[in-house]
């Protein structure tokens, strides 16, 4: 309740009853998410070196600076202390390739906050996940730099040069599942270590920041749709567990698909949302031109969220159809 009294804009709340007080505030939840990302940051430093911290710092700094600047131009209260800008900057850095150029990082953070979030009116109004919007911009602008993967520090063989998804797609090489668990594979800065991502994700679900329905529906959807393809052609298509562990699926599932602002608010809608993402990921990975499709799948389903919300509205209690 301290946070409620701290923020002067919360002093007068005009809402209908019943009123339930909660120690939760946006700020509190945002910092919990930042805490949940710490294992991924540790794994990034472990596998790709200290330089990744510089990228993370630049990304967060630029994100906060952009937000403050835009709020200043629009003559609004500067709200960088609510932690959402920190999360966007941190998430963006963690889904960039290791040793990405700092100039590119800065551009990505400016686009993520400026076009992904503030253009729509700031936190709570954005349609798309800002960090993913920034990454999509970078992916379209610098396709070569965005797919140049650094060999992780403890690489055992040369096949880890490309991401496992790329070698699966273009060279038909299947990577065994064990390296995924620790994260000793090629990939984006913070997404490679399944262990670190799961620690953070389970923590978020356990304390209730993230609704369990979206992750569960995404995993079930992946087992279903990936399983169908695997069943049809087990030689060409990887098994569903490879799909789940590879690339940014788990990272996107825990930290981006579950974004409060850009995911459906109804329980039924969350199931549709999660299943839709999984279906698109499988389709892009197996049939699309890109090796990885988590980013575009989440962005695509983000666009459907208003529609999903409208069609899954629960019936008013007592209403007769």
């Amino acid at each position: 309740m301290e946070t409620v009294t701290e923020n002067p804009s919360y002093k007068l709340e005009l809402t209908s009853s019943p009123h339930i007080h909660s120690r939760w505030s946006t700020q509190y939840a945002m910092w919990l998410v930042v805490g949940a990302l710490i294992p991924s940051v540790v794994s990034a430093v472990l596998f790709f070196g200290w330089y990744q911290l510089v990228i993370i710092g630049f990304s967060i700094g630029t994100a906060l600076g952009t937000e403050a600047l835009i709020k200043y131009i629009r003559k609004r209260k500067i709200t960088i202390s609510d932690g959402s800008g920190v999360i966007t900057g941190l998430l963006l850095a963690l889904i960039l390739p290791p040793n990405f150029s700092l100039f590119g990082t800065v551009i990505g953070a400016v686009i993520a906050i400026g076009i992904g979030k503030e253009v729509f009116g700031g936190l709570g109004y954005n349609i798309f996940n800002p960090a993913l919007a920034g990454r999509a911009f970078l992916q379209a602008s610098f396709p070569v730099a965005m797919t140049t993967w650094t060999i992780p520090n403890f690489a055992l063989d040369a096949t880890t040069k490309a991401t496992p998804l790329a070698s699966m797609k273009f060279d038909q090489i299947h990577t065994s599942l064990s390296p995924f668990f620790w994260g000793n594979i090629g990939g984006s800065i913070g997404e490679t270590s399944v262990l670190a991502v799961i620690i953070g994700g389970v923590f978020l679900i356990a304390i209730g920041v993230v609704n369990w329905r979206i992750p569960v529906s995404m995993i079930l959807g992946m087992i279903l749709f990936g399983g169908i393809l695997w069943f049809v052609d087990p030689v060409k298509n990887p098994d569903p567990f490879f799909h789940i562990f590879a690339g940014g699926f788990l990272f996107g599932m825990f930290f981006m698909a579950t974004d409060w602002v850009t995911s459906p608010i109804t329980a039924k809608g969350m199931w549709i949302f999660g299943m839709g993402i999984s279906l698109l990921v499988v389709l892009i990975r197996v049939y699309g031109g890109l090796p990885e499709g988590v980013m575009f799948s989440i962005l695509f389903m983000n666009g459907f969220v208003p529609l999903i919300n409208r069609f899954t509205q629960p019936k008013t209690f007592g209403a007769v159809k």
């Binding site: 551009i107 076009i115 253009v119 911009f137 379209a140 602008s141 610098f142 396709p143 730099a145």
Partner: protein, 225 residues
């Protein structure tokens, strides 16, 4: 009332007040599709202006002969004639530009800017006014297309009108020459234009309020004296 508008005003209103792209939001297809470079934008706008001016002039001349039931069909026939002329001339004189613009030159036929001006202005006004109006709209279209094309060319390929502008270290942002870049550039420019208009309006409002307040003060003090 119509007589009060000067001919010059009929021309200049197209530049900003009813700018085809920013205010009327017409002709979005060429605005978004061909503005990969500044020269493409200029060529497209010039071709559109040519068709716009001549077809609106003809439509205005025969506006009393066209039965209202078939007016759209008549407009389309007139517009299509000039589009064919523009297309063939560009193919003969500037084959490379014609190739770059591709199907968008024939598509001028269905450009809503031309049909919109024909329906909204040329069919109701005298030829000389229709001429000034379409010239103004064409100029406004040209300016906007040049700006959008220029921005996209500078950021997307580091050049302007084919000359290297950005330093060699600059890595072009490929997204700007992709369709997404067109939407981003247009959206941000339109937002900027609206921001300018809004801030101007709020300033005017403030000055009116201040005038009112000061006049009230004068009145209030008068009885005391």
């Amino acid at each position: 009332m119509k007589k009060q508008v000067t001919l010059l005003k009929e021309y200049t209103k197209g530049l900003w007040e009813i700018n085809p792209v920013f205010k009327q939001v017409l002709g979005m297809c060429p605005t978004l599709a061909v503005t990969v470079s500044a020269i493409n934008g200029i060529a497209m706008a010039l071709a559109t202006t040519f068709v716009l001016v001549l077809s609106n002039l003809i439509i205005s001349l025969i506006r009393k002969l066209i039965p209202p039931q078939v007016r759209i069909a008549s407009y389309i026939v007139i517009i299509a004639t000039f589009v064919t002329i523009a297309d063939l001339v560009m193919k003969a004189q500037f084959p490379e530009l014609s190739k770059a613009l591709g199907p968008f030159i024939p598509l001028i036929v269905v450009n809503c800017l031309i049909l919109g001006r024909a329906e909204a202005f040329a069919s109701k006004n005298t030829p000389i006014r229709a001429l000034m109006d379409s010239l103004g709209n064409g100029t406004g279209f040209l300016i906007v297309l040049f700006i959008i094309g220029g921005i996209r060319e500078i950021i997307g390929s580091g050049t302007l009108l084919g000359f290297q502008i950005m330093p060699q270290v600059f890595e072009p942002w490929l997204i700007m020459i992709l369709p997404a870049g067109a939407f981003l550039t247009l959206g941000l420019l339109m937002g900027l234009a609206n921001f300018y208009v809004e801030s101007k309006k709020s300033k005017e409002r403030e000055s009116i309020i201040q005038k009112y307040r000061s006049s009230k003060q004068v009145q209030l003090t008068e009885p005391g004296v």
